[in-house]
């Protein structure tokens, strides 16, 4: 008699008895060899043996070993009629077969069979497996089938339950695969199902579907509320097995409360009151004596309570409920259970964003601060920080920032970075006194310099530069900070920058005389990294301007070998250029060149943006509150708005040629990246200023050299990375934006032919023939342009440029050109390959400008490139229900575009069909009741997403007119598709 897999038990105990890793490995390898030989052997294995070996493999896998065989055997087990074998086969597959395994097809076939089985146990196994794998392929194959199981009257409860979750999984993987149909309306009614398990599964599914189109599921609101009411008010005996430690159906309650958070408070008064009653009952139960002392009881009860509070916060409409919620959470803040304290802090964070409860939350400030100081668990302390951040406003900012700074000293490394950002933001946002702001940031650098990101110290400089009243104080404070025996490199950067700009404001004090300032800065120089040294060099040249008396000291530093011959090009270049500037310029020139930085343009703080990246939800909620209460700080700088870039402003020329300010990348060894961030508005400044602003530190001074002729070596400037502006002009451009000189466009007629086809002659004259062949796949395309020289003489200086007439095209299309040579020989044909990526929908048309010299005469031809949005469209097939469903969904006024127009070509149905298919739409039959009409669908594929589009074309033979209607998700797309198709009919 076979026992229950004795071999497996023996193997496992063998492994457990292994004394060393090597012994274990050896035993495993022996077993693997054994299994492999059994699988390969002549003797057919029976199901039991297969099962045993598969179990062994699973165990070996669990120990962390790769399993590279046995998959086929597992798949074979699926064919078995025995449940046990089938089940173990499915287990192996869901643990060990990844979605791209070549056996997946076989698995799918088995899944299909089992799904169609009359045995619900088999159906369930299949559903489970589909859900566990949950791949896109699974969705493609099974998503259309599963809804039937869900709403079929005679399907068992367990099948319904599994089907709901399986469908949910597939919906999450590939929502587009889950069909919309009448089942969607029937699924809502599962909320009334007798079986609580079915209801729970259905709520999960509905909650996901609701997010796709809330309006279709509106009915679930009142159904959920009445279901919730029945649970909340029932005595727990009603729900028998679904009562968990005296709490009736906690999971279902939680899910229902979650589902309701997708909708605004119900409009119907009866329904709304019913919901309020439920929420009150839940809040009341929280203060009733517990029905059990077990932790499970309070856990389950509180799970429901927290979800109810979330819903109250979400509705944000009932002040009395909000305040009750807040006081309940306040009690949890000092609960014995760490879990509750954690969750209370978290929920309160959301509550703080509601204007009704913000003040109520503030009352708990002291408790939260205590939590920050005394909680043993970093997870909880982290929540306390979040809450302090959320409850902070003008009234308590100094206190909260102070507490956070104290905490920073001992905070876990893992959260310091975020804490620093939070402190920086609060200090800026609620600063009424900017000396406090400056102190706070310098404290930050002192306490956690390593965690102070560039954004933070850039920001303090921007603010100091923009606020005259704080400049002297800032100079004094950084000076004092630099006097400390050890200070963080970030402090040196800030100190260098600020003293370079405003050192003169404290020079009157003998303790901070010009030469002391310089010596203090230079004392740190050798300890700093090259970027900081480069920054200090810029500070020194600024000091030359502020304090002529220390000029010689600075020249000595600049001309030392350590700088002038530094292996770092940036340092070398700055040293040599600044040296020339210091030696050769008159005081007037220096004063103009090195003038104080102008204020930075006000923008949103980049720090805030960074934090939002980390904690999107909370940050947005807090911002929303800010807007609601309109308690924006008054001063511009405090508005959370300022330049996002480093303080490396390039400023326009202030007058004629002479008055160039130093392109102040004082901050700038990082200027290569900075220049990209800059995007400053150069206004009407001379192009030279733009080039300098874009360039790195060296580049900017190099600019001066050409204007001022002070003999700065310009060769070294080539070492600086080319900027976006100047670098591009150096190379031969293949794509330009908005260049004006394109001349008039020719060959427009031929261009129209390309809307529905992909190859042909685009343009032809006596000299040149331009042919085009293109192919498109999804959001990418390849256009080959053939230039044929029709003459017996060569075309010289041949060049082509793609011109984007509309600057928005630069974001919409990614164009790359493999350019042709500069000469097209007699009767020769050359081709140019243009690759295009469609980043987003577009409607303007790129131009192709061709220039060459033919027998001494320069020629220029501008053509429209046959590149239109429909090229990225793939036809899409669907049944009539789906078509109408989509059609209805996309019927917002801006999503629909309709044109009635005169036919330009003979109205022949076959020709029209060819054109429509060539255009990219599908042709769907049996949808329109009038067979003469054409309907179809297509999906425009862009890198930023797919844009589903539908059309209907109604010909009127008598009037020789068409009516064309296009529906599309994106407003611009329906218009453009409509325009383009019109030209073809």
């Amino acid at each position: 008699v076979k026992d229950s897999m004795r071999g497996l038990a023996v193997f496992i105990s063998d492994i457990r008895n292994c004394k060393s890793k090597e012994a274990e490995e050896k035993r495993i390898n022996k077993e693997l060899a054994n299994i492999r030989s059994k699988f390969k052997g002549d003797k057919a294995l029976d199901g039991y043996q297969k099962k045993k070996y598969v179990c062994k493999l699973l165990f070996i896998f669990l120990l962390g070993n790769d399993i590279d065989f046995g998959h086929m055997e597992a798949v074979n087990l699926l064919n078995s009629n025995k449940y046990t074998e089938k089940q173990i086969g499915y287990l192996f597959i869901s643990v060990l077969i990844s979605e791209n395994n070549e056996l997946m097809r076989l698995v799918q076939q088995n899944l299909k069979n089992d799904l169609a089985s009359r045995n619900p146990v088999h159906v369930n196994l299949a559903l489970e497996c589909i859900a566990n794998i949950g791949s896109k392929e699974m969705a493609e194959m099974f998503a259309p089938e599963i809804p039937k199981l869900l709403v079929m009257g005679d399907a068992g409860d367990t099948v319904k339950q599994s089907a709901a979750l399986c469908l949910l999984k597939l919906f999450r993987t590939a929502p587009e695969m889950v069909p919309i149909g009448d089942w969607t309306s029937r699924v809502i009614h599962l909320l009334n199902d007798q079986h609580m398990g079915v209801v729970t599964a259905a709520v999960s599914l509905i909650e996901a579907l609701v997010k796709r189109n809330p309006d279709d599921f509106k009915g679930c609101v009142s159904l959920s509320i009445s279901r919730l009411a029945r649970i909340v008010t029932s005595s727990y005996t009603d729900l028998q097995d679904y009562t968990y430690y005296f709490v009736p159906a906690p999971w279902l309650s939680v899910k229902l409360l979650r589902l309701l958070q997708n909708y605004p408070p119900p409009e119907d008064t009866t329904v709304r009151n019913r919901l309020a009653e439920c929420l009150e009952t839940i809040l009341n139960k929280a203060v009733e004596p517990p029905k059990s002392k077990k932790v499970q009881h309070s856990n389950a009860k509180n799970a429901v309570l927290f979800e109810a509070i979330s819903l109250i916060i979400h509705m944000d409409s009932d002040p009395s409920l909000l305040v009750r919620a807040c006081s309940q959470l306040g009690q949890f803040l000092s609960n014995r259970e760490t879990n509750l304290r954690y969750l209370a802090l978290e929920s309160m964070c959301l509550l703080a964003t509601s204007e009704f409860s913000h003040d109520a939350v503030k009352r708990h400030q002291e408790t939260v601060v205590t939590a920050l100081k005394s909680e043993r668990d970093v997870s909880v302390r982290q929540r306390a920080v979040d809450l302090l951040y959320a409850m902070c406003d003008r009234s308590n900012a100094e206190e909260i920032v102070g507490e956070m700074l104290t905490y920073l000293e001992t905070a876990d490394y893992s959260i310091r970075g975020e804490l620093v950002l939070k402190i920086a933001i609060l200090a800026e946002k609620y600063a009424s006194d900017y000396t406090w702001y400056v102190d706070t940031i310098l404290n930050l650098i002192r306490l956690a310099g390593d965690f102070v990101s560039e954004e933070v110290w850039y920001r303090v400089i921007q603010i100091v530069i923009n606020r005259e009243d704080v400049q002297a104080y800032a100079a004094k404070t950084v000076f004092e900070a630099l006097e400390a025996p050890a200070c963080h490199e970030n402090m040196v950067k800030v100190g260098g920058y600020i003293l370079g700009e405003f050192g003169n404001l404290i020079a009157g004090d003998a303790r901070s005389s010009p030469s002391t300032q310089f010596q203090l800065l230079h004392g740190k120089f050798h300890l700093c990294s090259p970027p900081t040294r480069a920054l200090l060099l810029s500070a020194y040249i600024k000091l030359v301007n502020l304090f002529p008396e220390i000029r010689e000291d600075i020249i000595a530093v600049l001309e030392s070998d350590a700088n002038l011959r530094n292996s770092n090009v940036e340092i070398q270049q700055r040293a040599s250029e600044y040296l020339s500037l210091a030696r050769n310029s008159t005081q007037d020139v220096l004063a103009t060149v090195l003038e104080e930085m102008p204020p930075f343009p006000e923008r949103e703080s980049s720090i805030l943006a960074q934090l939002r990246k980390k904690k999107p939800a909370v940050e947005d909620a807090i911002r929303a509150r800010g807007e609601k209460q309109q308690q924006r700080p008054a001063s511009g700088a405090a508005d959370g708005a300022a330049a996002s870039a480093a303080p490396t402003a390039a400023t326009p020329t202030s007058g004629g040629g002479g008055g160039v300010k130093l392109q102040g990348d004082i901050a700038g060894a990082e200027s290569n990246t900075d220049s990209d961030l800059l995007g400053l508005d150069f206004g009407g400044s001379a192009p030279a200023a733009a080039a300098g602003g874009g360039g790195a530190g060296g580049g900017s001074v190099d600019l001066l050299s050409s204007i001022l002729d002070v003999g700065v070596s310009s060769s070294s400037s080539s070492s600086a990375a080319p900027s976006a502006a100047s670098g591009a002009s150096a190379q031969r451009k293949t794509v330009v934006v908005g260049a004006g000189a394109s001349g008039s466009i020719v060959g427009e007629e031929n261009w129209h032919k390309f809307v529905c086809k992909n190859s042909g002659v685009l343009y032809e004259n006596d000299i040149l023939q331009v042919g085009v062949k293109c192919d498109y796949q999804q959001s990418s395309g390849r256009i080959v342009v053939y230039y044929g020289n029709k003459t017996p003489a060569p075309l010289a200086q041949f060049a082509s440029v793609i011109n984007l007439p509309d600057s928005s095209l630069t974001n919409q299309l990614g164009i790359q050109v493999k350019p042709v040579g500069d000469r097209v020989g007699a009767s020769e044909q050359v081709n140019e390959v243009i690759t295009v990526d469609c980043m987003a929908e577009f409607s303007a048309c790129p131009l192709l400008n061709i220039r060459f010299v033919y027998s001494g005469v320069a020629q220029s031809i501008t053509l429209k490139l046959p590149l239109t949005i429909n090229k990225f469209m793939q036809s899409s097939e669907m049944d009539s229900a789906t078509f109408f469903q989509h059609w209805k969904q996309l019927s917002q006024p801006e999503q629909e575009c309709q044109k009635i127009f005169q036919a330009k070509f003979p109205m022949d149905a076959e020709t029209t069909k060819t054109k429509i298919l060539g255009f990219g739409f599908s042709l769907l039959s049996n949808i329109d009741s009038n067979p003469a009409n054409f309907v179809g669908a297509g999906i425009v594929q862009t890198k930023s997403g797919n844009i589903g589009s539908l059309f209907r074309l109604e010909p009127n033979q008598q009037a020789q007119m068409y009516r064309l209607t296009v529906h599309s998700i994106k407003p611009g797309v329906s218009k453009r598709l409509c325009e383009l198709l019109e030209t073809q009919l």
């Binding site: 699973l58 791949s135 979750l165 999971w251 856990n299 509180n302 799970a303 043993r376």
Partner: protein, 190 residues
Amino acid sequence: MIKAILIFNNHGKPRLTKFYMHYAEDEQQQVIRETFQLVSKRDDNVCNFLEGGTLIGGQDYRLIYRHYATLYFVFCVDSSESELGILDLIQVFVETLDKCFENVCELDLIFHMDRVHFILNELVMGGMVLETNMNEIVARFEEQQKLQKSESGFSAMPNRAVSTVRDMNLSQKLRDIKIPDMPSFSSLYQ
């Protein structure tokens, strides 16, 4: 949604792992190690939630765990799950195991991996909570055992494998590992 369910012992040895999102095999092992590192250094009376490690998705994911005697039960979930709800779910899982195995211990998990997977599959499907009613799960489990028995024609008592091992003079060792009373467990039952 639940991204992964990991059970490992106090030494980090995995006893059951189930991933509901695709990870390559070596990534799975890394996730297990990372999670063990994060969870095992925590005291027993701190809170049961923490932010996920970098491999599992960082701040957007939470680890919700319980520590029972020699075993950690860790569920990695996204923000759409209720923390306390998942904590209760772990409890339901363990209580169900306890009912099905009559005093569950670490060895049961090792020797009856298929059954543990079966129970888990009844509880969670594709990363979503399927059934929370313990009695229902136990009933389905017993049904399955019956089916198994009828199919193979011999009696497959859950404890058979363990007793097989006991026959091999390992009983002393077993007693050390077995968790009949499950210390932290019993404190939850109190």
